[in-house]
Symmetry: C2
């Protein structure tokens, strides 16, 4: 019997209600497979600001580092949008990524056959799309120095951020990407802006160098503007994508939206060692918080990713993913993915259906 | 009778053949409206590298600055991709933008009713889409200092680029965007990453300030990741978009590809005074160069944009745009936009049809 310590970060908005569902699903699969979870709740984002004045209390970071995995729901809301930067919910999330050294962010964009009609793309374009975006998460322009708003001699203000990657940072995310591609379709597309940016030139040079170690993986390159186009034009051409923090932010969201149902998509953030962080791609949806309307599936699939990538419990992950397919086949739908002839359910009822499955 | 000096930059790949078509269309409309064009050809991109060793010869920049408008076709090709950065075709284009101080890039993404089926998006999602992206073109991370690849003390290399905007740069592109929105649907969406980047925070602050001068225009804000999603999800929500150089590069290409026919899309780059630069959104397509397969319509519509925004000849611009609609209504299609039951034509024949119309 295995025993894991999980830190739960329910966060803001719909976070707490979808987290409740994920925990009930974990409980169920744990009982079946004799896996035990010990939970510890911690504060992050707006909830942490309200309680402690800071979006990432020291205790939260410490608790996360000491656990076997961290399950996060969602952060942010209008209420905290006007606070100074160091007090914003997003700053807490960035601090958590940096503090846990989670440099590799895996964001799958996979279309489920049951939900093809939710996509804004034509059926023949979106059918069968299964993309994994591997995004660098602790470097690039998100963290580069110098940054800030500075006054020039004339008194005019200048805003500055720095996009920087060192060879070592590129290599370690590159390796994760090649390994990931190896377990999938063996095709890796590296996205950069090497025709304009020196930092991208270094990125491309290193990817080409790394490719020598992975002769079984086919490496290609696209400029980020072209990648944004190709995702819309013909997304099936992609298997695994690797890119920097900012381009990954943009492209993984674009890829996710191709599926039409971001309420379904989980993500994993991993470091070299130590616990990983698992969270849905969608946000905290403050407008529907507490109304039992949220779709808990991305949160539940994030728990599955936690089992697969964080705790090495693939069997448990499989069971959860099968339960999701089962519930969708049975016609259960929350409002965001509702279509004609399906059974409309709320967040709680969807959770019950998942546990039953 | 008006007389204009136009610098033509045919460039590389399909550039020369589509430029020939645009010039024949200009000749035709000029005769009708008693407008005369004096042309001067100049070298840029790969063609300039081959002839002179540099992608932007001094004479080219001088010629462009002295003319009333510049019409560019396309630059680049595999042949020059492995040259050092300062000798690449792209570097010539960036030098031209900077040298002519073309800080405002207007990129329309408008769906033509005749070509709706070319889009990968569902008809009901794409029908009626008419977006204008106003992209800052001479600042941001494309030009910010420091930039380069530097060795650290340990000998490890670091790639660095700097995203920087000063208030004055933001204000001048902001004004162009508000003026543009005012002439269109009066809705302006400013795209940034203000939840993470200080440079974006300054950008947003200035846009909010500028909005006071344009009470008739409705200003909204989106983070760039969300904008990339919203373009796919529901592009009709957008009227005019304003954003920085890098985000504009990505989003204008994504928006263009929504239409499914980037062989149809022109663009304009304008400065505070002095001549503008007009060019198609698509690239130089070296794989089909010289085979009479290229679609010249984006180039022809770029000539129309030149007449409208560069030379203040709206009547001539209207006539060209009407000719394009006429030819499409009559069923003429180049290979890239061909569909069942239409008349397949090459580049030259499309040009003749346009002149006839
Ligand atoms: C909330 C924000 C800081 C974050 C990011 O930009 O990384 C989010 O967009 C994401 O992609 O997880
Ligand atoms: C060729 C390249 C330098 C250029 C850019 O990035 O600006 C192109 O992508 C564009 O959008 O005009």
């Amino acid at each position: 019997m295995s025993d894991y310590r999980i830190t739960l970060l329910p966060g803001d908005g719909i976070g707490p209600e979808i987290m409740t569902v994920a925990v009930s699903v974990l409980k169920c699969v744990g009982e079946q497979l004799d896996v035990q979870f010990e939970y510890q709740d911690a504060l992050i984002g707006g909830a942490a600001i309200d309680a402690t004045g800071t979006p990432l209390p020291d205790e939260t970071l410490a608790a996360c580092k000491e656990s076997d995995a961290v399950l996060l729901a969602a952060i942010g809301g209008y209420k905290w949008d006007t606070l100074p930067r160091h007090q914003r919910p997003e700053t807490g999330l960035l601090g958590l990524r940096a503090g846990m050294e989670l440099f590799a962010n895996l964001r799958p964009a996979k279309i489920l056959p049951q939900l093809i009609d939710a996509s804004s793309l034509k059926r023949e374009v979106i059918e069968g799309v299964d993309i994994m975006v591997v995004r660098e998460l602790t470097g690039g322009i998100y963290f580069g120095q110098p940054k800030g708003i500075f006054a020039t001699e004339t008194g005019e203000k200048r805003g500055v951020n720095t996009m920087v990657y060192a060879e070592g940072e590129i290599d370690r995310i590159g390796r994760v990407a090649f390994e990931t591609a190896r377990k999938r379709g063996k095709r890796l597309c590296s996205v950069d802006k090497a025709n304009v940016l020196e930092v991208s030139q270094l990125w491309r040079d290193r990817m080409i160098k790394l490719a020598e170690e992975y002769p079984d993986v086919e490496l290609s390159h696209l400029y980020v503007d072209n990648a944004a186009m190709q995702l819309v034009r013909y997304p099936k051409q992609f298997d695994t994508i690797v890119t920097g923090n900012l381009f990954g932010d943009i492209l993984s969201d674009e890829a996710a939206m191709l599926t039409g149902s971001i309420g379904m998509l989980p993500s994993a953030s991993l470091g070299a060692s130590g616990p990983g962080l698992f969270e849905p791609v969608h946000g905290s949806a403050p407008d529907i918080a507490g109304q039992d309307k949220a779709n808990p599936i991305a949160q539940v699939l994030s728990a599955a990713m936690m089992l697969r990538y964080g705790l090495d419990q693939p069997e448990a992950a499989d069971r959860i993913e099968q339960a999701v397919m089962h519930v969708l086949d049975a016609g259960y739908r929350t409002g965001d993915i509702m279509s004609d002839g399906m059974k409309a359910v709320g967040c709680r009822a969807m959770g019950e259906a998942l546990v039953a499955a």
